[in-house]
Amino acid sequence: MKKLITKKNFILTAVVGSIILTAMIISNAILSSRQTVSATNEAVSEVSSFYLEAMADRRSKTITNLINSNFDHMEKAVAYINTENIGSEDELRATLGNIKALLSLDRFALVDDDKIVHTQYTTYTGGSRHTFLSDEKMNEKNVSTVSIYGSSKQLCLAAPTPELVIAGKKYEASFVQIDIREIVDLLAFEDEGRTYFGLYNKNGENISGTELGPYISRHNLFVAMKDVIDENTLNENRDNFSNAVEGSITFTANGAEETLVYVPIEQTDWMMVVLIHESVIHDRIRSISEKNLLTSKRQVIITVLFSGLFFLILLFMLKTLLKKDLEAEKENSNNFRNMASTDSLTGVRNKHAYSEAEAHLNQKIRQNEIDKLAIVVCDINGLKIVNDTLGHAAGDKLIKDACSLICENFTHGAVYRIGGDEFVVILQEKGFDTMSEVINEINRIIEDNIKKKEVVIAIGHSELTKQDQMVHDIFERADQMMYHRKQELKQMGAPTRPQ
């Protein structure tokens, strides 16, 4: 398990995790946005259908109210005529003129029992012009649609007048004709072209002359829609029209989704049809949704950027921390190694370090990879006496002084303390080349020190010869020489340990 948790795996896990998290954030944002749009669209459809139905109902009731209002006025008109003592056609015309002024019945007319129509200005035989004048239709109030040659259609309201007699002539009916264009004007209201309405008869024919949107326009509703809805739906809606049942149709034409709602108009065989481009509402909602989506996308991008930046910083910090740890560990390791190879009193390398260096050099000698190598053996004179007479502190000082003297002169050599009073200097390259000068100088100093009663060191040295198999061979010759020198120094007055 511990092997799996590596630095590489950690970074990989962090990166993959970041990507997965980011993907989840983005997908959640998109999904959420789409669900919002979908839910909104459903709500819009329901609301728009409800809205259209309300509009259609309102307009339908307006027409029904108009019809009822006109029938009321017609009753009042007939009652008014009954009160007038009309004796001629001219008087009848004048009375009809008064009715026009009093009751706003523009096209009010009476029909006598010869089917002659009497209006304010004309008297005419109207059997072919007004089909509602047939006897079977004259027993009760009658609402019919009249197609006028060269004119728009008219809504004709006729009511029997069984008691009406004028100048001895019996009158059978009164009627008014309302131009559908006037009804359309009554129904129109400002909706900024977003909704359309039309009056249709039972076979889907547009009788109001109003455009029901750009696709259906003024065409027969079912003829226009046969290419945009399936046959079953078409037939179902045809039946609704025939049976005066309300309904709705949603269809797509020219890439635009449209909904129309139709409701029957009471007392007539008309349908009030209202149409709205769903795209009008949808476009608005879509616009809002797109804004929301854009905002979400921005949020996601910002989140991703911040997440990325955050993870980069995190990685950088982690890397820095790991590097610091590594360096500290390395430094500790070096310290430990230095502590193991260094003489604690003088600070130069100890015998352990010398053994490692000796082994290393021995390998080079065996492989004949080295030719300039000299070993200098240094031994402090009189350390035993100082320790015994002046104490170990003085002895330690003597060792430090001796070490300083050696180090200050053998600046191009490696100095090792291999015993209590014994140092070795390994000279290679430049140290080897300057060895004689350095030894002469240090011996001169030592000889001066004898007189000054300061530190005295016996030095012996030897160079690598072809016969040498290892460093120790050189060391032996240098050590021998150091003993000879020690004797010389003794003769010069240098302190020595008691025999």
Partner: protein, 370 residues
């Protein structure tokens, strides 16, 4: 346009005669043309197959304005009697009502009676005229039911100081003293033009029947004459029946059924009034016959048959303009004016022959029906 010219070429003698006679009747200050027009967009329908919106729209002119004549009175009262209760005259009535409204806007009140019997009857017309002449109307207008019977009556009325005009479909006999006529003055040519279209369609051979309206009705009889004369030009064409439907669609249907029964190989039917083509088309549809029908007028059902290809062509008269011009002319006559600069002795109302491709536009134009 090419066939427009063609029609005029087919009928040069007739038209030139009309021009000549009309020119003789008017003084030099008359407008340059007194020729009654027959328009047709018949441009080899099978080749062009294109509906002409302009043809349909120019057939009936609903956009009228009163001319600049200033009436002398602020109230006129007219009496008009026409041949029979029928949608054709309802269309005329709408033009009259439009003129009446426009006069009213100018502060001039026009009242009138516009009366007809259930069926064409010269006797009924005589009765109506005898009642009207005693009621002090400014002008009495007559759509002559039978020119031989009615024309003398009109002369008597004029002689007694009554201002009489004729209007709509039929004028009085030549030489009648009526002041002016507003209406179709080219019924013979209409019959000839429709028959010529049929002959061309049948490639100038085959059996045809002629349906006429009422016996003695000048316009119906004139069209029938035009049809007969045209058929007579082509030796391979034969008239196998001529029947009168008394302006009844039902009778036209029954007559056609009977003719088809007697002549199962009948190639064409020429219909001279508004009810003929409707009855004939019903019969042809019912029997599955391939008989080609040509006929008159703008009946809504007939236009649907035209749209469906059952009827080959229809001659549509501009009823609206006839009605409008009738009221304008009546006002001028009531003021004591005579034919001349103000109005013509015979108007120049048009008839337009329309074909299948014009039917939908005409239906929408006339009835708001698509």
């Amino acid at each position: 346009m090419r066939n427009h010219l063609k029609i005029h070429c087919i009928l040069p003698v007739i038209l030139l005669s009309t021009v000549f006679l009309s020119a003789c009747a008017f003084n030099d200050s008359l407008p340059p043309s007194n020729v009654n027009e027959i328009k047709t967009d018949h441009e080899d329908v099978s080749k062009t197959g294109s509906g002409s919106e302009n043809t349909a729209k120019s057939a009936v002119d609903f956009d009228h304005e009163l001319d600049d004549y200033t009436p002398k009175k602020d109230h006129y009262n007219f009496y008009f009697t026409y041949k029979t209760i029928h949608p054709w005259w309802d269309a005329v009535a709408l033009g009259m009502e439009d003129a009446q409204r426009q006069y009213l806007e100018k502060g001039i009140t026009i009242t009138y009676e516009y009366m007809a019997p259930e069926a064409v009857s010269a006797e009924d017309q005589i009765k109506r005229l005898s009642e009207a002449k005693d009621r002090d109307f400014d002008v009495i207008g007559v759509d002559v039911a039978d020119d031989e019977i009615i024309s003398p009556i009109l002369d008597e009325m004029v002689d007694s100081g009554i201002k009489v005009m004729t209007f709509s479909s039929s004028d009085a006999s030549e030489g009648c003293k009526r002041i002016a006529y507003v209406g179709n003055t080219h019924n013979y040519e209409d019959g000839a033009a429709l028959t010529e279209a049929l002959c061309e369609k049948l490639e100038y051979r085959g059996k045809v029947a002629i349906l006429v309206g009422s016996v003695g009705d000048p316009c119906h009889e004139d069209r029938a004459r035009g049809a007969k004369d045209t058929i007579a030009k082509y030796p391979d064409m034969k008239i196998v029946a001529t029947e009168y439907d008394k302006d009844s669609v039902d009778l036209a249907y029954e007559l056609t059924i009977s003719i088809l029964k007697d002549n199962p190989d009948l190639d064409g039917i020429i219909c001279c009034n508004m009810s003929n083509p409707v009855g004939a088309a019903r019969a042809v549809t019912e029997t599955g016959s391939n008989t080609v029908i040509v006929g008159m007028d703008h009946d809504q059902e007939a236009l649907h048959y035209l749209k469906d290809g059952v009827i080959y062509c229809l001659g549509v008269q501009d009823c609206y303009s006839i009605g409008f011009d009738t009221i304008q002319t009546a006002v001028k006559i009531a003021d004591g004016n005579k034919p001349g600069d103000l109005f013509r002795e015979k108007s120049a109302e048009i008839t337009t022959v329309i074909y299948q491709e014009d039917a939908a536009i005409m239906l929408e134009l006339l009835y708001g029906d698509d």
